[in-house]
Amino acid sequence: MAQEMTGAQIVIKALVDQGVEVIFGYPGGAVLPIYDALFQQNKLRHILVRHEQGAVHAAEGYARSTGKPGVVLVTSGPGATNAVTGLTDALLDSIPIICITGQVPAHLIGSDAFQEADVVGITRPCTKHNYLIKDPDKLAKAMHEAFYVATNGRPGPVVIDIPKNVQFATAKYSAPDNSGHKTYRPQKKGDQQAIRQAVELISKAKRPLLYTGGGIINSGPVASKLLRQFVKITGIPITSTLMGLGAYPASGKEWLGMLGMHGTYEANNAMHDCDVMINIGARFDDRITGRIDAFSPDSKKIHIDIDPSSINKNIIVDIPIIGDCAFVLEEMIRIWKAKSAKIDETALSKWNGQIDEWRASECLSYVQGKDIIMPQYAIERLYELTKDKDTYISTEVGQHQMWAAQHYHFEEPNRWMTSGGLGTMGYGLPAAVGIQLAHPKSLVIDIAGEASVMMNIQEISTAIQYRLPIKVFILNNRYMGMIRQWQELLHGGRYSESYSEALPDFVKLAEAFGGVGIRTEKPDELDDAIKEMISVDRPVIFDCLVEKNENCFPMIPSGAAHNEMLMGPDDVEGSVSEKGKVLV
């Protein structure tokens, strides 16, 4: 016989039964019953954030670093609308999030009640799915279904909007029963025929290239293992999107670095010149493709994706395979071995020779002088001093994010958390809070810019409250650097509103919050300062003053092709076409 309990208790029970240990939230009038139920139990840990956007990003950090769904609890109206940016971020980066929002009592819905917002309406386009639960008897099932929907197929955020009267009402609780959803059954196993064709095509390739993305990370650690195995048996060079970093180790000799707008010269040229492109879990995003009509013109393209709508959306492919990366990779390896398929070694070594020539351009090189810290150098030193530790990295959005992607090298999946699709400034600090909660003993660093970090700086207070020793490593160039870079490229160097005016003293700010502040501006002091940061067992804000005017290179300017990269400031003049200027 199922137990009767209140809606609020059902919410808590369902979360516990789904294996949730931590939720991120902020109380308010329309969720008080749930907060009351939370108070009267000790299985779920609640982390009080300082802003609801922070709650969602923290849940994202938690989810990305663990592979488990992140859970958020916020109130109606502003609580829910503040969560919208985080939900959209999770949708674009395919992060499983369950977001429970309080709602005004059902009889007041539609009356413009205090703190009422049409949350299912507002979140419909920024969630994978959402629910408004008016009937307490349907609450338990919806909770379980939400977990199924958020974590199966292409993961994403799911909102459950619960009116206050439903939280008070009593109903029967039903335990999770693996029924999932009555109709939603995403395809996990790829089509056999297509996989065979893919193997055939790869074995005949002269200039093959793997282009992998966040789908491998989302698929779980098995997919990364299989990817490594596939590279090992074929020897095919590999590049990855921003979201996919770590799936293949950066120390691997087949690794070309990241591709795309700020990808490496070798990765982008290999994309342009390859004859067989194997896209696994990436989506031909515009940061990757550059000019569509000049994108990898001579290649046959294989595209493995769990989401059918990714196929042929931006780029027409020759062999689409709909399925989970892990399943498809496993099958590809099995068929490859069963057929005793062989890569064309002669062609491959010639191809690798070509790639080595591109590599020789050393596109990520920079000049470090004696007086001012170059941002790339800061990342490089941070990497050298933390690579042997159990380290997780999050970032904000902008130049520092690209430098981190270029100069911090990842060996394992789930170690790199960044806002890729939405490009949300203010992501990194709250994400670090979520990561540190999931990995209390690990070193968690938010590589930040001084402008981005101000967008959710309040979350340092959350870190203090829960004694989360996150490290906020700010590359402080006193500019919204990426904006300044684009203004330099596209708008005649008129730096409209992109100077970080009236910055706080980050050291004092850290101290005011109850953390530790460190500042450095001399290259020869950097190592010691980083070591100090690592050794402090409390939240740290590290204000690293770097060269103000450095730009992020290499770069594919808007509207250009992969083989039209800008390698440095000398290439910039007149590099962006009129058509390119309207692109973002």
Partner: protein, 170 residues
């Protein structure tokens, strides 16, 4: 194939769980992603199974039409998306109620044309008719055109309902 830039009209039959907000999801998808809706009809079709059928007539390049179908398929309450135009040609019908007011020769002519188009009179005074007409959209369009000079007052159209020929379910 997909490379073609030709704009085509397709009739999509979308079977959905009849739950609150499902129409908003479908319509929001079209507006949010910049697709066209030329006609839309929606109604519950199987009460026991809580199923509704949404019939959308949309236009786009073959590539856009493919995207529309897979984007629709991504919505959780969508059970199936059938492109009737690809399977077809399907049977398509629309119903319209058309109000025409006038006296004398115009009135007689309106009635004569209605007869030719197999429209029926469902309301009348000495000064007006309301015609009910069913048929393919272009037939209805043609009838409405003819009514314009004869005193057309207003029109209500249902949008297209569509189904495949033959004994099988799609």
């Amino acid at each position: 194939m997909l490379h073609s830039q030709n704009i085509e009209s397709h009739t999509l039959s979308v079977l959905v769980d009849n739950e609150p907000g499902v129409l908003a999801r479908v319509v929001g998808l079209f507006s949010g992603r910049g697709y066209n809706i030329d006609s839309l009809t929606v109604s519950e079709t199987e009460h026991q199974k809580h199923l509704s059928r949404i019939t959308v007539v949309t236009t786009g390049t073959p590539r856009i039409i493919e995207q529309i179908k897979s984007q629709l398929g991504r919505l959780i309450p969508v059970r199936s998306v059938i492109d009737l135009t690809v399977m077809g040609p399907p049977l398509e019908r629309e119903l319209a109620l058309i109000k025409v007011a006038g006296r004398g020769e115009n009135r007689v002519e309106a009635l004569r044309l209605a007869d030719a188009f197999r429209a029926t009179v469902i309301d009348a005074t000495v000064e007006h008719f309301v015609f009910e007409i069913t048929g393919r959209s272009n037939k209805i369009g043609q009838f409405i055109e003819l009514m314009v000079p004869l005193g057309l007052v207003e029109v209500a159209r249902t949008g297209v309902a569509s189904i495949m020929r033959g004994k099988e379910a799609t």
